[in-house]
């Protein structure tokens, strides 16, 4: 039964991928991508990867769609038609490469086969059999993420950190010499035409933030952890931004604070490692944190998950703020330009007369 669901979902994915290749209209491509993420999250659920499905659910529903949409809003939705030559070449390269890979899969173990090297390797048995006993944590993904592969996760967090800094450097805080005059219609930003939407959605923001905290803390027992919680938290703030405008959101949580938080999360992560060294253990060896090694592991995992959550939430929020501010400046500049043009047109006939 699982196989049938799996195959149908894969067919959905294929049809969306083809539509995305064919369409000239980037707006619909971006929306199809939203569905693509929904389907792939369902697929992850069917393939037993609940933590991954949760991350994909948190990322795919709001954040990635909105980033592409903001870019499109300032760059345009249409793709111009093009000569066929390059497409044929690209198609040929893709087909040849794909055929080679299909040939390669023929020697691979079938999906879910217990003889596959992934499952027979001793480390897989270690992770599924020894780790719950050693760690005392039912969810095997969390200790694997935070403890066994703690260095790796530190690196990933650093990458997220770097990406956030990069976005800030590129389109972040503009220190304009002459700040744009605020167009009156833009003073109250966001979905101000939708009263019902505002009233209802406002009620949803606290539950989202609360749920993010739950996901953050519950990662030991069920799906969840710092990465998911960070993205969910940022999505809650994003909802606020959509409803009330980016200026209002920036007054609630200031970009300056966010910049500090980005660094703080990573510092917490690295700081735990340093504390371990000071207490005579190895870097990120949490067993030194308490008298009982297992308690130490728990404290260590909770702390670094908190660090990851803070960094991810701050980075994603910063990214969304930067993008939204960029779009707002763009729209306001355009409005001002059009309005000045209109004013000029209005005055010129009079002066001529």
């Amino acid at each position: 039964m699982g196989v049938a669901i799996d195959i149908i979902l894969l067919l959905f994915l294929l049809s969306i991928a083809f539509a995305a290749c064919v369409t000239r209209n980037l707006f619909s491509a971006a929306m199809l991508f939203g569905i693509f993420s929904l389907i792939s999250a369902t697929l992850f659920v069917v393939l037993d990867a609940v933590d991954v499905a949760m991350t994909e659910a948190a990322v795919g529903t709001g954040v990635s769609t909105i980033l592409i949409l903001i870019t499109l809003a300032s760059t345009g939705y249409r793709v111009s038609p093009r000569p066929a030559g390059r497409q044929v070449l690209a198609l040929a390269v893709s087909v040849v490469l794909g055929a080679t890979m299909v040939y390669g899969t023929l020697d691979m173990p079938s999906l879910g086969s217990p003889d596959a090297p992934v499952h027979t390797h001793p480390i897989a048995q270690y992770y599924t059999e020894v780790s719950p006993v050693e760690m005392g944590i039912p969810n095997m993904v969390t200790p694997l993420l935070a403890s066994y592969r703690g260095y790796d996760t530190l690196g990933e967090t650093a990458v997220v950190f770097t990406a956030g800094i990069g976005v800030l450097a590129l389109i972040g805080r503009r220190r304009r010499k002459d700040p744009l005059p605020i167009v009156e219609e833009f003073r109250e930003g966001g979905a101000n035409r939708h009263r019902v939407l505002r009233v209802i959605s406002k009620q949803l923001i606290p539950p989202i933030l609360l749920y993010a905290c739950y996901v953050q803390a519950h990662g030991d027992f069920g799906p969840g952890g710092g990465f998911q919680a960070g993205v969910i938290f940022a999505s809650g703030l994003m909802l606020f931004m959509l409803l009330f405008g980016v200026e209002h959101a920036r007054r609630i949580i200031r970009p300056v604070v966010l910049e500090k938080l980005i660094a703080l999360g990573l510092l917490i992560y690295g700081g735990v490692g340093l504390v371990n060294i000071l207490q005579g253990g190895a870097f990120l060896d949490y067993r030194t944190l308490a008298h009982d090694p297992q308690h130490g592991l728990h404290y260590g995992i909770l702390t670094i998950e908190l660090g990851v959550g803070i960094t991810v939430a701050a980075v994603i929020t910063t990214i969304i703020y930067s993008f939204a501010s960029h779009l707002r400046d763009h729209v306001m500049q355009r409005t001002l330009r059009l309005r000045q043009g209109a004013d000029a047109a209005q005055t010129s006939p009079e002066s001529g007369a």
């Binding site: 039964m1 699982g2 049938a4 669901i5 149908i8 979902l9 959905f12 049809s15 969306i16 539509a19 707006f27 619909s28 929306m31 199809l32 939203g34 569905i35 929904l38 389907i39 999250a41 369902t42 659920v45 069917v46 037993d48 609940v50 499905a53 949760m54 659910a57 948190a58 529903t61 709001g62 769609t65 909105i66 949409l69 903001i70 499109l72 809003a73 966001g190 979905a191 035409r193 959605s201 949803l204 989202i208 749920y211 996901v215 519950h218 069920g222 799906p223 969910i232 994003m238 909802l239 959509l242 409803l243 729209v331 355009r334 409005t335 059009l338 043009g341 209109a342 047109a345 006939p349």
Partner: protein, 98 residues
Amino acid sequence: MYAATALLLLLAMGMTLVRALRGPTVFDRILAVNMFGTSTVLMVSVVSFMHHVTDMTDIALIYALLSFTGTIAVLRFVEIDHERREMERAEQEREVLP
């Protein structure tokens, strides 16, 4: 029994997907995405019972909380774009007038 429900939901998802692919207006697509979100929530809940892993309801809860933001985002951008088109139209009218 869960399997039958899951299959029915998959069929519904397929039909919704066709609507999302065909359009014709952006609002049809938003409608389809929204409905796809709802059926994904149901699908995940049903699969969680099918696999006897009840932790998956957390994912359904996340979707129920967040799938909404995507819809609002798209609506906002449609509105921004609508404003742009209105302004450009006004601009064109102005150019034609004198």
